[in-house]
Amino acid sequence: MITFLRILTGLVLLGLVVLAAILFMPVRTTPALAALPEDYTPPEGSGEYAMRLADCSACHTAEGGVPFAGGRKIESPLGTIYSTNITPDEDTGIGSYSLDEFRAALYDGIRQDGAHLYPAMPYANYRKMSEADVRALYAFFMDEVEPVSNAGPETALPFPFNQRWGIRTWKWAALSEPGELSSTGDAAYDRGAYLVEAPGHCGACHTPRNLVMGEAGYTAMDGDFLMGGEIDGWTAPPLRGPDSAIRNWSAEDLKLYLASGRNNHAGVNGEMQLVVRDSLQYFTNEDLDAVVAYLRALGDPAAGDNAPPVDPPRTADRLDPSAGGTQAVLTAAEPGMALGPRLYLDNCNACHFVDGRGADQVFPELDGNPLVTAPSATGLIDTILNGAEVPSTTVRPYSLRMPDFGHRLSDEEVAELATFLRSAWSNSADAVTTADVTARRETAEERAAAE
């Protein structure tokens, strides 16, 4: 009994010590990863370019809002987080931040007042950015951005998540080494690794989360890195491995997708649209090549990844009258046909055609499309209900739009159509229920009402 009490007292004392440590031990911030001269001046344009690489405006500019003035709603699994004002306003922005304080936010998720930032800010990835880019960003935000007075809404997550000191423990468990990147020594690969693993923070969406909701890997050296994630219910597909969304893409396809959101296979959708619109379309030609080289290096040609470029036949010549299966059913257009393919002919065939292969760079494929066959059907349901749009980009300025069909189809019909698509042609994925569709429609309505 006394032993038990002693052990218990010991554990409580230990807990108190740990708590005291969390609360009172000073936070050590990561120092600069390279020694640059005090009077180092970032090259002209490098600050804006670094901002594009890191895509700061994606979170720090509200919908239709003033650039970098914050106030954007970010839906997290723990509640709504509002982005902050990072214009150089002295009172409501970061105008009073020193370079070290700026770096601490990027690398360690530490605010000027010492509070911990929620990991909606991807410091877990940004902590690998170079000192040159940190300096360039600092100079950009201090000198090239208009200061804007905007206090913005305070983030108020429900208890216990409003206890920011708790994030410190999360950091101990979740963060990896600052500045650590994968490398092969090949210049293109290494630059691509930097872009993807550091400012691009692609892993923040495309990597699975572990039990503590940290990324299950931060560089290509980790097996789970870029093996797929989920964002707002949509699947952010794997970019390596047997289920990789890009395994059948040529280098040209991959590069064009990054630059324009469209290629011979797919059209960018969901949150990734904004990444193309605000970030990727501004990458230099060389940087795009580097990202492509890196991603393809993660593929395994022996397993059939990294397809060579193909000169495909004209759409009209592609439709083979002797083809069987789904294409034959759709082409025959029999009055007694099942509801799924009937809905396809009445809604989708005009652009996606009877072989489900769409048209290069204009209408995405549905056959073999990861959005269609993803484990979560949310993205597919959302696209049928609300349509889709690829952003206007420099190399492809046309903002191609798919109209929404939510007003034309009942929940039951959307489920029927989605189920058909997920098993049509070579696709094989679970059916979609009416309840799935109803739930997604309700989510959208709730959000719209809350605006």
């Binding site: 652009c351 420099t394 492809r396 903002s399």
Partner: protein, 589 residues
């Protein structure tokens, strides 16, 4: 004047095909460009979205994408003695409206004129003698040649993603194309569209008679296409709702699919919709334009928009109307033959034969806008005018483009138009008829012209433009000649019955049925300021900083649909302005 806006380098009136081309070409030069469009903005989605655009009543019958006569129309008369009356409802021609203009709702028939069409008067005089030209026919040379325009035809076609088969590449005749066409420097951007049943039957019959059918050039993409601006087209799906409708699947060439999103990205380009230009403003000495005045619909006030360069890019009729209202060029007087503005208005002479087959099924609802097989064996460069007794020519085509039921189901003549007989007949004959049509030239005449109406005004109080036009014996003889060639082809196909519709002797212009929206002339180009309004660069003779694009420049109508020439002239003018005018603004001729 309620307000004045800050000056622009270039102000463009109308944001259709020519407005978009001039807009992007001038913006590429770094100029501050503003386009003023009196209609609304239009995007593929939501304005042409599937399936809502598949609405025959709203767009095909009630003309949803067209100009509303209440807002803008003309008065029409056939002779100088008749009193012109307002064109109160749309019928014979359908001017466009809104961003994209008629480029939204055309069929996509895109041709190059024949070489002789640009030098028609000289060609007739040199080959047949001036005596064969009727006294009241006022045809003229254009002041520009086909050879000069060839690179610009090529550029326009590659910008459109035109589908077709070349017949003459640098003098080499190619099987399957049009052997009579003017030489082109390379093949079409995209291969031809697939053909419907009726077109293949016609082509077989035509070939059997020794003619040379070829796929009609189509600005409906037969595959995917990316043009010089990075803009994209997808493959046409033969939806059967082309002409009169915005394209639902990104396959019809239009300003929306070919230019606008690229143009909108340029920070030095802007445009205002619901801004109707009321007049072109001229300097005191009338030697230059100072800008334009427009009506701001939202603010309900007049606005003066100053500019260094004014480009009239509205529909052809509206360009001429603006010139007449603004005092640009001496108005044409048909009694004296003096003056230039409004002179030489022309239209298009078409006809056709309809065939009925009980045992052949044509699915008429399957069609693009410009699919079909055509032949130029009786084109304007193939006819001996002296022998045949007319000046002109036509191309002949079969190819169904739509089977929309409200707009008419072909029935053998004599069939009742209502009641049980009609109801039964439409089930018997829907899908069992096809047509062979001729599309031909229309010459210019002394008393076919445009001026200001003395009686009727528009909502701004401006006089409407008055159109004086009628069919003339020369063109009637031409269309009857085509009839004499088409009917034997029809007979050789062994239909159960057939019937013809061609203008006959004494035919009067009927404004009610749709014919074509190929209104040309009125601000014609030429090499003599006494007989033309603009010079060979489409620059106004009277004001060197004023340009007038579009088919108003045609001195008479070509045998083809005008858009191909309209586009080529736009690139030709843009090139001259960029290379020659901008460095040194002055009259270029």
């Amino acid at each position: 004047m309620a307000r004045t806006e800050p000056k622009k380098d270039v102000v463009i009136v109308g944001l259709g095909w020519t407005g978009s081309i001039m807009g992007i070409e001038m913006a590429k030069q770094g100029l501050e460009v503003l386009a003023l469009e009196r209609g609304a903005d239009r995007y593929t989605v939501p304005d042409f979205r599937y399936p809502d655009v598949i609405d025959e009543l709203k767009y095909g019958v009630r003309f949803g994408f067209m100009q509303k006569p209440r807002n803008s129309t003309v008065t029409i008369r056939r002779t100088l003695q008749e009193t012109a009356l307002p064109y109160r409802q749309l019928g014979s021609f359908l001017p466009g409206d809104g961003v994209g203009g008629a480029g939204i709702h055309w069929n996509g028939h895109n041709w190059r004129a024949m070489e002789n069409e640009f030098i028609l008067r000289s060609y007739v005089e040199d080959n047949f003698g001036a005596d064969i030209i009727p006294e009241d026919m006022t045809i003229q040379d254009w002041g520009v040649t086909y050879a000069e325009l060839e690179p610009h035809f090529d550029r326009f076609e590659y910008m459109l993603g035109l589908s077709g088969q070349a017949g003459n590449v640098n003098g080499q005749i190619i099987e399957g194309g049009n052997p009579f066409e003017a030489p082109r420097s390379r093949d079409f951007p995209l291969p031809p569209l697939k053909q419907t049943y009726d077109a293949t039957l016609f082509a077989d019959a035509a070939r059997a008679m020794g003619y040379h059918p070829f796929p009609r050039p189509a600005a409906n993409a037969s595959g995917v296409w990316t043009n010089e601006y990075g803009m994209q087209l997808g493959p046409c799906n033969y939806c059967g709702f082309c002409e009169r409708y915005g394209c639902l699947n990104y396959s019809k060439a239009s300003p929306q699919t070919c230019i606008l999103d690229a143009l909108r990205r340029m920070p030095n380009f802007s445009y205002r919709t619901n801004s109707e230009v009321l007049r072109v403003d001229l300097a005191e000495d009338r030697q230059t334009a100072t800008g334009v005045t427009y009506w701001d619909e939202e603010a309900q006030e007049e606005v003066f928009q100053p500019a260094d360069i004014v480009m009239l890019c509205a529909y052809s009729l509206h360009n001429v109307h603006l010139m007449l209202l603004s005092g640009i060029g001496e108005p044409y007087n048909p009694a004296t033959g003096e003056g230039v503005t409004g002179k030489n208005y022309a239209y298009q002479m078409n006809g056709g034969t309809t065939l009925f087959f009980k045992d052949k099924l044509f699915n008429p609802f399957i069609g693009a806008g410009a699919n079909g097989m055509s032949m130029d064996d009786f084109a304007i460069n193939q006819i001996d005018f002296a022998a045949e007794g007319f000046i002109g020519g036509s191309y002949i085509t079969a190819g169904v483009t739509n089977g929309q039921p409200i707009r008419g189901i072909g029935l053998p003549s004599g069939t009742a138009s209502w009641g049980e007989e009609w109801k039964t007949a439409i089930t018997e004959w829907y899908g069992h008829s096809m047509s062979i049509g001729s599309h031909g030239s229309n010459m210019a005449y002394r008393d076919c012209y445009l001026d200001l109406d003395p009686t009727y005004t528009d909502r701004h109080g401006r006089p409407l433009m008055r159109m004086t036009f009628n069919w003339k014996p020369n063109d009637i003889r031409m269309t009857q000649f085509m009839r004499s060639k088409i009917e034997p082809i029809a007979e050789s196909m062994n239909p159960d019955t057939w019937q013809s519709s061609y203008k006959g002797e004494g035919a009067q212009y009927d404004v009610r049925p749709y014919q074509t929206t190929h209104n040309v002339g009125g601000a014609i180009m030429g090499d003599d300021p006494n007989t033309s309004v603009v010079n060979r660069y489409l620059q106004a003779w009277g004001q060197h900083n004023l340009f007038s694009l579009g088919a108003a420049a045609f001195p008479q109508n070509i045998q083809y649909n005008p858009t191909g020439v309209v586009g080529a002239l736009a690139y030709w003018a843009a090139d001259a302005i960029t290379r020659d005018y901008l460095p040194n603004p002055r009259p270029l001729v």
